[in-house]
Symmetry: C2
Subunit: 201 residues, 2 copies
């Protein structure tokens, strides 16, 4: 019994991506072998090469799935009467995604720490469209905050946006690299509050 139905094949494909995530996380992308991925998925390398051209394509297939939750869940409401609260909520939501979506969290950990940005992966170093969009939305939210008068005087929305952007990136990175029971994770909420409070009038 080798040949499977179309749905079975799709399941195999997902199993392969799941297995790849596990192996990448443990061994790093470079040291991960397609043999390991296949065996974790309960198949052979033949299945891998059937569904994907090579390890690179498998990696990007895995990566794509992790981006979706963010565009869905991290949104800014332009009608919000307190844009700063919206920013604060967005920051908390980012961390929350990492909390309740282990696959996304693991993929981010791989992208952040278990992958070398050379050759085929070099392009990943630049900000993604999603990141740039997040940066832009931060700027717009800060601009609205300024108009509504909840912002401290004399602050440039763009500079604030970048500051928060870097803060968010650092937050994610340190949250990922910290142990679940570590002191850092408990303090995240307070850090987010402090960060936003600094901007309030």
């Amino acid at each position: 019994m080798v040949r499977k139905t179309k749905e079975d094949a799709e399941i195999t494909r997902r199993h392969l991506i799941d297995a790849a995530r596990r192996v990448f996380l443990e061994c790093g992308v470079s040291r991960s072998t397609l043999e390991k991925v296949a065996s974790v998925a309960g198949v052979t390398r033949g299945a891998v090469y059937w569904h994907f051209k090579n390890k690179t394509e498998l990696f990007f297939a895995m990566r794509e799935q992790a981006i979706l939750p963010f565009v869905d869940r991290v949104v800014f409401d332009a009608e919000d009467e307190d844009p700063l609260a919206g920013i604060e909520a967005a920051l908390r939501e980012i961390i929350q995604i990492l909390v309740d979506q282990p696959a996304t969290r693991e993929t981010f950990e791989i992208i952040s720490f278990k992958c070398e940005y050379v050759d085929e992966f070099a392009a990943m170093m630049q900000c993604t469209a999603g990141q740039l969009d997040f940066l832009r939305q931060l700027g717009e939210a800060y601009a609205r905050a300024g108009q509504r008068g909840v912002l401290r005087a004399g602050l440039v929305p763009e500079a604030l946006a970048y500051d928060t952007f870097l803060f968010a990136g650092g937050l994610i990175k340190h949250w990922l690299s910290s142990a679940p029971d570590e002191h850092f994770r408990g303090g995240v909420d307070a850090m987010i509050r402090t960060h936003v409070a600094l901007r309030r009038a």
Copy 2:
């Protein structure tokens, strides 16, 4: 003529570390072969294995050299009458080190983007003693700023320190990944000023 004098050997060792940095930066640590490193250094793999146990040891030898400039140049003056200005200066100094010490900059780029944190490299994920020290010094500087009354009211030094710590990390990372002529690099000074200004009374 094979056997060299002790000084010659030391020169070879440095050449190897320089070559390793170049190759690591171009190929990533995993894809870097000791053959490439050796040939760039103008020697053979024999020389590499004479001076270093393996690629890992060569990597850490390279890494160690990049940490020194920071402990030397990023200092906080406890007697400073404006600790916030001291923090601002420290942040600027960090970027300045990257500007005028290409080797340090390249090593940081390798550590940030061209290296997978698994197995022997997994320990690197945690904050180094130097980083923790930087974090601590930030906290103390903010505490002094509070005592001198230059800090905004109601701010906790520790939270501020962490915010600045994440900011600095993000700043370095984005500075490294940005092109020399990119808009981002020109805006760094303003971003540092904004970041610190947010905390001023």
